[in-house]
């Protein structure tokens, strides 16, 4: 059974009196542990598709289902509960300055009702997993960009999400660090059987996906000849 299922989804916006078709009849499924890349240039509709997957936007046509449930039928509370079951990784990290990497990684768990001590233990486990155990007490300003992105990954995974939505997660990083981060993220997703929808305009990043879907002017086409890149060993960034 697939984790996420988009069926003939369409979304239009009106901008400056002009109707823009951001997503036009896109169909896509993501199975547990599968990494799917949405590849396309800026303005191609990647973020809109991620928003539809996150349930923060409703499609004009078609349906977005998760675990068989149509997201359009969810109430506000149910939608929030759905989003709590996801993990988000963005280009901008939004880490809390002035607090430690550990606190940042534990933040989502605290909101989810975990006891502070247990939340921090869980966060530490994930910081260890992403190679940041020794840096757990450091504030974000003392971490490199790559390390900050690892904290974000630990934060996203600490809640044991069913699906990860990643929007240009390596755009702030150089090629080498970007690869390392994606390798780590994709590896963990496969290992933990967590699906991931990765929006990117970087062909190197897309190469880490199991499947790549090109998105151009709202139209989604899956590449038939894609071969996933071999994952290098996780390294400190």
């Amino acid at each position: 059974m697939s984790a996420l299922e988009l069926d003939a989804v369409a979304k239009r916006y009106t901008t400056g009196g002009e109707v823009v078709c951001a997503v036009d009849g896109a169909s896509l499924t993501i199975a547990p542990g599968e990494v799917v890349a949405l590849y396309g240039p800026s303005g191609s509709g990647k973020t809109t598709l991620l928003e539809l997957a996150a349930g923060t936007q409703r499609p004009d046509h078609g349906s977005v289902r998760f675990g068989g449930v149509d997201l359009a039928t969810l109430s506000a509370g149910e939608a929030a509960r759905y989003r709590r079951s996801l993990g988000f990784v963005f280009q901008r990290f939004y880490l809390h300055p002035g607090t430690s990497a550990l606190d940042n990684a534990a933040m989502k768990l605290l909101f989810a009702g975990w006891a502070p001590r247990r939340a921090k233990q869980q966060a530490l486990t994930w910081l260890r997993r992403v190679g940041l155990e020794q840096r757990a007490g450091h504030p974000p300003s003392k971490l490199s960009m790559g390390e900050q992105q690892r904290v974000v990954i630990a934060r996203a995974l600490a809640g044991e999400p069913a699906l990860i939505l990643a929007d240009e997660p390596t755009a702030s990083l150089d090629t080498e660090r970007g690869r390392a981060i994606l390798s780590l993220l994709a590896g963990i997703c496969r290992e933990r059987r967590v699906g991931m929808l990765l929006a990117t305009h970087d062909p190197d990043a897309a190469a880490f996906a199991d499947r790549v879907c090109d998105l151009r002017d709202g139209l989604l086409t899956e590449r038939a000849d894609h071969r996933p890149a071999a994952a290098p060993a996780p390294a400190r960034t």
Partner: protein, 845 residues
């Protein structure tokens, strides 16, 4: 850099951060308004009397006065006019009274004048000369303000309660500002001299003579007048009444000054803290400018221009708001002065008040630019603001915290040493305490947040843990908010605590004064045993015969002018249980001194007068009196007896002989042990006959309550200042918290995207605000208690009143609850709106 470029860049900032800039402006304006209004209110008390006497006296250079309300023979006027160096000499009668009209009553000064007064050219009286305003021979004229207050119209009958008599008067005319200038706002009733003598029961007597000397002969004339006065009358300068008011208001001014200084500092701090909210943005802006190659001079010009513009605009708005405050909230006249000085309701706005308030607002705006400016001058990393802990520009490094804490401790130690060595510097101690509190705040805040985090972790308080993370993330803002709360609570605890102690001390002193009798008869109105009245022996005999009355004693004295002091003369009957109250005795043995005064030829002297004249116990005090100079041995030094300029305690027989008057200023009555007070007081009223209408018969408890009420009026301004301080604090806190919440909407959107519920965000914001404010309030309470102690000490030293220290836990608790509730209520609306931020916002970057 060109002006238009500076304006363009500021316009850019205004468009980018309109809300933040507006909040900073509101903070500065609130501080400036508070500072301006308090200054104007203080100046207006003495300023109104100064204007009145200048308006009446015009070119007057010297005054010959009786010193007390009984006056001196009008025949002295003929002798004065006969002096060669006199150009103009005009007699005046001045007597305190209560004007009763159809709509109410008001304390006034009855002023009796002659047309010759117009020759002095005073703006108020120049129209009273021949051919000008005329007053009917047996009528009175009064300012429209006074007439309006009691509901009197021209040609109406009104009543004057004066010297223990009820007098019917006819209102000849009411006079407006165009006719009598500033006197239109003063509590006066003016009548021809002869009518004033009749109304005040002073036949053939006058209160003073206003004299203008011939050109260049003022000093020669003064000597001639002193010879003529022969120690029986006072020869004073034209502004002698104003000087006396200044001395009388000194205690009030000193206490108000203390609290004004605290308010001023708080005002400047509000403004400063409001600007602090913009510091992180400005620091990031500086980093951006420097990255793009802007030189230090250019950065300074940009920051200076922006701060100066904001400071000027906000200060002008603050002045306008302060003006409104001084017209409305601070417009009352201190009641305890109104019964003895004709204080008007006009506002006096000195240039200094405008300049100080404006400059403070501007200074606060410029000072707060200091941190971004440091970035401009630093030779290190141009993007230093991004390298620090916390949100860019928000960090306060542990090293900086330790340094500031060290500075605070040093300041406190130095201040403690100085105040111990020289107690009169206690006022500077209060100021140093405020500064030290602010310096220590970052370190205290960091320590408290660590502690709260530990507690939250132990008790599994998830939202509190997150709230602490948030508070730490925006350290500069959080510390600024905590500092505002601390200073607000500090100021309020110190002001209200010291005020409470002062009231307690003053009340204890007056209770001692009244404790010698069960019932008192005094003139009507809140005269507090200071106005004399005539009472014949027959009435005294009738009072003694009232069932339930055990004893009747004649108490004398009243207000008495000597030099620059209006002294409270307490002439106690020898039979009083206590003559010199032990609780008010500072030097000498109270019981022995009491016996000495009772025997005669001795006096208990207030500390202020003793200091003024260099007197100690055993010394000699000589006073001008109608029967000739009166010399008394100093038996004890006492407090100022609840009257700023001080008092003298003599026995009534000495007073009667020296002042040649048997008029009481109060009648003391002891009741039989079984007597019913209410019935006996009614019977006493009946025994007074027609005079009862112009006299008050009150139990000691009622008279004490009257004093308390006068005292409350007198210290009203202090309550107003502390209330305004609280309101301004709540506003400033609301502003700071609002800015802090609103700027975090994108972060909140990220939370929302991850499924965090709106109520969780709301709860987190409330907890964060509550935690930050609680730290501030706690620090404010501790520092405020020390400030209260220092304030008490300073008040005792400067006013001569006792102010015994007492901690008011109830007040402190309610204050903290109020600050928290007001600030959180103010921030709840923007908090609610911020919590509604759509999660989509996170994708739109």
């Amino acid at each position: 850099m060109k002006l238009r470029t500076l304006i363009y860049l500021y316009g850019w900032r205004l468009r980018a951060h309109p809300f933040q800039e507006l909040l900073a402006g509101v903070g500065i304006a609130a501080g400036v308004a508070l500072l301006f209004a308090v200054q104007v209110a203080n100046t207006s008390v003495t300023g109104s009397v100064e204007q009145l006497y200048e308006g009446i006296g015009g070119n007057v250079e010297l005054q010959l006065t009786a010193g007390d309300e009984h006056g001196f023979p009008a025949s002295v006027l003929t002798r004065v006019r006969a002096l060669d160096d006199v150009a103009v000499a005009t007699p005046i009668i001045e007597r305190r009274a209560v004007l009763v009209g159809p709509r109410g009553r008001q304390q006034v000064a009855l002023v009796g004048i002659e047309p010759s007064l117009a020759q002095l050219g005073g703006r108020v009286t120049q129209n009273f000369g021949a051919g000008g305003l005329s007053i009917p021979a047996r009528g009175v004229v009064m300012p429209t303000g006074v007439a309006g207050a009691v509901g009197a119209e021209p040609a109406d009958e009104a009543v004057l309660l004066i010297a223990g008599r009820r007098r019917a008067i006819r209102v000849g005319a009411t006079l407006d500002r165009g006719q009598i200038g500033v006197a239109a706002d003063s509590p006066l009733v003016v009548t021809p001299l002869a009518n004033a003598q009749r109304l005040s029961d002073m036949p053939g007597a006058i209160s003073s003579i206003y004299i203008a000397a011939r050109a260049g002969r003022k000093e020669a004339l003064r000597r001639q007048l002193e010879t003529l006065a022969a120690g029986r009358l006072e020869v004073g300068a034209a502004d002698a009444p104003v000087q006396r008011l200044r001395v009388a208001t000194e205690a009030n001014d000193q206490s108000t000054a203390l609290f004004s200084i605290i308010s001023a500092l708080v005002g400047v701090l509000f403004a400063f803290n409001a600007m602090l909210l913009t510091v992180p943005d400005r620091r990031r802006f500086v980093a951006e400018l420097r990255t793009q190659g802007a030189g230090t001079g250019q950065v300074v010009a940009v920051l200076g221009f922006q701060a100066a513009t904001l400071g000027v605009v906000a200060s002008l708005a603050g002045l306008a708001f302060g003006d409104l405050l001084s017209r409305t909230v601070f417009h009352s006249v201190p009641g305890y002065l109104a019964f003895t000085f004709p204080i008007g309701t006009q506002r006096v706005v000195p240039f200094s008040a405008v300049a100080i308030a404006f400059a403070s607002g501007l200074l606060a705006a410029l000072l707060a630019t200091g941190r971004p400016l440091l970035d401009a001058f630093s030779h290190g990393d141009v993007e230093a603001a991004y390298e620090e802990d916390g949100e860019p520009g928000e960090g306060i490094s542990p090293r900086a915290r330790r340094r500031l804490l060290g500075g605070a401790l040093l300041l406190l130690a130095a201040t403690a040493a100085i105040v111990t060595a020289e107690p009169s510097t206690a006022i500077f101690g209060v100021l140093a305490l405020i500064v030290a509190t602010l310096l220590a705040m970052p370190a205290i805040f960091a320590a408290c947040m660590w502690l709260v985090d530990q507690v939250a972790t132990r008790l599994n308080l998830k939202l509190l843990t997150i709230a602490v993370m948030n508070a730490r993330a925006t350290m500069t803002r959080s510390v600024a908010v905590a500092a505002i709360a601390a200073v607000a609570v500090l100021g309020n605890v110190a002001i209200d605590g010291a005020r409470h102690d002062l009231v307690r001390g003053l009340h204890a002193g007056y209770a001692d004064h009244l404790g010698t009798a069960d019932v008192w008869i005094t003139t009507a109105g809140r005269s507090l045993t200071t106005d004399s009245f005539a009472l014949d022996d027959g009435t005294l005999a009738r009072l003694a015969g009232v069932p339930g009355v055990a004893a009747v004693r004649v108490y004398q004295g009243g207000m008495f002018d000597v030099g620059s002091r209006r002294i409270w003369m307490i002439a106690r009957p020898r039979a009083d249980r206590v003559i010199v109250p032990p609780s008010q005795t500072l030097e000498g043995d109270a019981a022995a001194a009491g016996e000495e005064v009772r025997r005669g030829g001795a006096v208990a002297v207030s500390e202020a007068i003793a200091k003024d004249r260099g007197l100690d116990v055993g010394g000699r005090l000589t006073l001008p009196a109608p029967a000739g100079p009166l010399t008394l041995r100093v038996a004890a030094i006492v407090t100022n007896l609840s009257w700023g300029p001080g008092g003298l305690i003599v026995n009534a027989d000495d007073y009667r002989r020296a002042w040649r008057t048997a008029d009481p200023s109060a009648i003391e009555l002891d009741l039989d042990p079984g007597a019913r007070p209410a019935a006996t007081i009614a019977a006493i009223g009946a025994a007074l006959g027609p005079q009862a209408q112009a006299l008050d018969v009150q139990s000691t408890a009622v008279l004490e309550a009257e004093f308390r009420s006068a005292l409350r009026d007198g210290l009203t301004r202090l309550s107003q200042i502390s209330t305004l301080l609280l309101v301004a604090s709540a506003l400033a806190l609301g502003v700071a918290l609002t800015a802090s919440v609103w700027d975090r909407r994108r972060l909140l959107a990220a939370y929302k995207l991850e499924g965090v519920r709106r109520r969780q965000i709301g709860g987190m914001l409330l907890l964060e605000g509550g935690a930050v404010l609680s730290v501030g309030c706690l620090v404010g309470l501790v520092a405020g208690t020390v400030g209260h102690l220092l304030g008490d000490r300073w008040l005792e030293l400067t006013t001569g009143f006792s102010a015994p220290f007492s901690v008011q836990l109830g007040h402190m608790t309610s204050l903290v609850v109020l600050v928290l509730a007001l600030a959180l209520a103010l921030v709840s609306v923007p908090g609610f709106l911020a919590a509604r931020v759509p999660p989509r916002l996170r994708f739109q970057e």
